[in-house]
Homo-oligomer: 442 residues x 2
């Protein structure tokens, strides 16, 4: 850490090193993060709950742990999306039904993080139950007239704004990767069901995935090591030079049209990889993937019918109309259609893995374009492929849109190759961040 | 209700009618249930938590609700397996890690039941995290030297012992249906993900299913109506006469050998259906189903690795060695093997539905034989097929083993045909209960 670096701006990996060396205490680190919060919160509104006294108290508890007993995340501050249970803070889901609700329970993911030394810092804003596309209060730190994306709005904004090095999100369509792109940060949606989702609000058993935000690939690796994600294959050095990638531009009528920012980012990304010695093929998905998005939404509709029934009985009048629509099956999907979609997606998963195995990774769009102006959290369609098919995805930041906002690209590997994916992203990220045209200015 | 009938012995449907008519208050009903509990608990040990004061207090609250505002389950007492969260009672999972733990949160299923008028009565014993096969304290009410089965041990025993008309269980292999057979009661494992599993301890996202116990088919229908399970097909009168069934005896080397009790029950079941005018074919599963059990256990092992990691970090020394083995992948399954199993089971689901659609239902064994003597909860293999493939199953009681203990048979329908399945079971159950040879003597 250079003498002028503020601790709040450190990545998790850097903060761990500073604390381990004794140059920084967790309490001093927390004080720096809180000063950033105090100066920025009225602009960014990332937090649904943040109690500075509790943060400092937890920080002092961590400082009191003898060095030999400290975990690999010792002192790392983590913002937790407010659809994930925390024992010492309320969980409110941005729902009037759960205002000030405070179950005495940590989610499985939060237990793992705490037991490895993390400082559970606060709860970040979400759209209602992480299942609608409007609001919440959080704003994009790079331009507050714009959305930070959703539904992991607050976690994306907080990490993008240097308020916390790590954020937890969730993804059911594109709720982790899209905010990653909009806020100019790294985002990992790991392989489905590779991190416990216990204690995370349920929307869809077969799609919901815990997501991770950071400002470096090393930080994502630190986290997935703690969650014990292991590939079958041993870790090998990865070099962009000589590697073979595919780029998936999704230009067919089955997908919305990407904006200029995303199209340019894909072109520049391919050009950069090629100029660094990689081979990049353009991939067009076979016809059998044509129904993917429709199937995803059909299964989700059926899953929402089950997941929101308790809230519907509890207080239908306080539930967003789209969720009432799920419960009442306003789309009139039959069970037969839902099963066809559920089984159809299941059959596509190994087929997508087989395509992915031919490449170091697939490069694809993370979002339509820059973060849009306003309160709508943006289109998630491009992200849905990988959520529906369970493959791990990283958003790499580095590109720039017409208004100077960050744009990221998705990098995808086969299921349970999360460690491989991070090795690829480490090298690709260096290139995209250095030469993609966007620099973090906060 | 005849003047001599004790309220505790009523089915849920009967209790609802008595309460609705004004002949019984919820408080009086609760007092009768509590008297049964007091006389039987030292023998059966069904309950992990039961607070008579809380029960009476909740009963009086229900009595105070004006008739026009009462739900369809008004006053129905429900025993909740102690892996399902309840806001007003501890949830302890039969794990020393969670002794006296009391999160202030209701599971999704419990919210639905409460909002429809149920009296959440107490927490029933389970094996550790519903994921081991030894213990707990609960005994089989028909012979206390024998197990009530597991892992939904206490719910099965409590409903079999007339201590409560309805019990909630869970099933990941055979934890609802097997105790149904052992305790001489009806058990429904509905279609996977047709009832919210939010707030129910996680073992496997793709297998875990909430289960329901009762002493009548009407009671199961009352419950699934509240949970809004709907088939695509309209309800039609079902008659055994002229219906076509298949019997699946599972006699190939891929399955354990059934004991004499189960073999005799299957033979008698077929004979009874035939004598009542049904056609019954013997079904042998195609070879492609050969790997089913191995795949089920492989996926489960991988899922346990994820699900128990938080508890492992929390207190590895307090975790059953089989669960430590999951987390440490002591079976050394590769991710590739787990994906092959996961995708293989997914491909079998529509194939099993296609077989099932040819029949009114398939009849199959629920357990190897009568409940075994001792503390091991018995073999679950026969039940695993339908858990792995997501089809709804009802255990119908009515048959008798060599020691006079109850034996049930499984009746299975395609996915999302739960209402159809109950119509079939209503008629089949009448026959099996009347002519199968076993009568409830408690």
């Amino acid at each position: 850490m250079s003498p002028t670096t503020e601790p709040y701006s450190l990545t998790a990996t850097e903060a761990v090193a500073e604390i381990k060396s004794g140059r920084l205490t967790v309490e001093k680190y927390a004080q720096s993060l809180l000063s950033r919060y105090e100066s920025r919160d009225s602009t960014v509104h990332a937090w649904a709950y943040l109690n500075p006294e509790l943060v400092l108290q937890e920080a002092r508890k961590l400082d009191a742990i003898p060095p030999a007993e400290r975990g690999p995340l010792h002192g790392v501050a983590i913002g937790v999306k407010d659809v994930i249970l925390t024992k010492d803070m309320p969980t409110q889901y941005n729902s009037p039904i759960y205002k000030d609700d405070h179950p005495q329970l940590d989610a499985g993911s939060v237990i793992v993080l705490r037991k490895n030394g993390a400082l559970i810092y606060g709860k970040t804003h979400t759209t209602e139950f992480a299942a609608t596309s409007v609001g919440p209060a959080a704003r994009n730190p790079h331009d507050t007239t714009r959305t930070p994306g959703g539904s992991s709005s607050g976690s994306g904004a907080a990490v993008g704004d240097l308020q916390v090095p790590i954020g937890l999100g969730t993804q059911t369509i594109g709720s982790t990767i899209r905010p990653g792109s909009f806020n100019g940060i790294y985002a990992l949606k790991p392989t489905w069901n590779s991190i416990s989702r216990e204690g995370q609000k349920l929307y869809s058993l077969i799609f919901d995935t815990l997501g991770l935000y950071s400002r470096s690939v090393e930080d994502l690796r630190l986290l997935i090591n703690v969650f014990q994600l292991q590939d079958d294959e041993p870790g090998e050095h990865f070099s962009v030079k000589g590697a073979k990638f595919a780029v998936l531009k999704l230009k067919t009528p089955n997908w919305p049209e990407a904006g200029k920012g995303t199209k340019d980012a894909l072109d520049l990304g391919v050009q950069l990889l090629t100029s660094h010695g990689a081979e990049v093929e353009e991939l067009v998905l076979p016809d059998e993937f044509d129904d993917l998005t429709a199937w995803h939404l059909q299964v989700l509709s059926g899953d929402g019918r089950i997941a929101f029934l308790p809230d519907y009985y509890y207080a239908k009048d306080k539930l967003h109309e789209s969720l009432v629509g799920h419960v009442e099956n306003s789309e009139k999907y039959s069970r037969k259609e839902q099963l066809k979609a559920f089984d159809g997606l299941a059959a596509l998963r190994p087929k997508m893995d087989a395509i992915l195995e031919k490449y170091a990774a697939i490069i694809a769009p993370s979002a339509l374009d820059e973060a849009p102006v306003g309160n709508n959290t943006g289109n998630a369609t491009f992200c849905g492929i990988w959520t529906a098919l369970h493959q791990p995805v990283v958003n790499i930041p580095g590109f720039k849109g017409a208004n100077g906002m960050p744009i990221g690209l998705s990098v995808i590997a086969p299921r349970y190759r999360d460690q491989h994916l991070l090795r690829v992203c480490k090298e690709v990220g260096k290139i995209f961040e250095a030469e993609g045209g966007w620099k973090r200015s906060l």
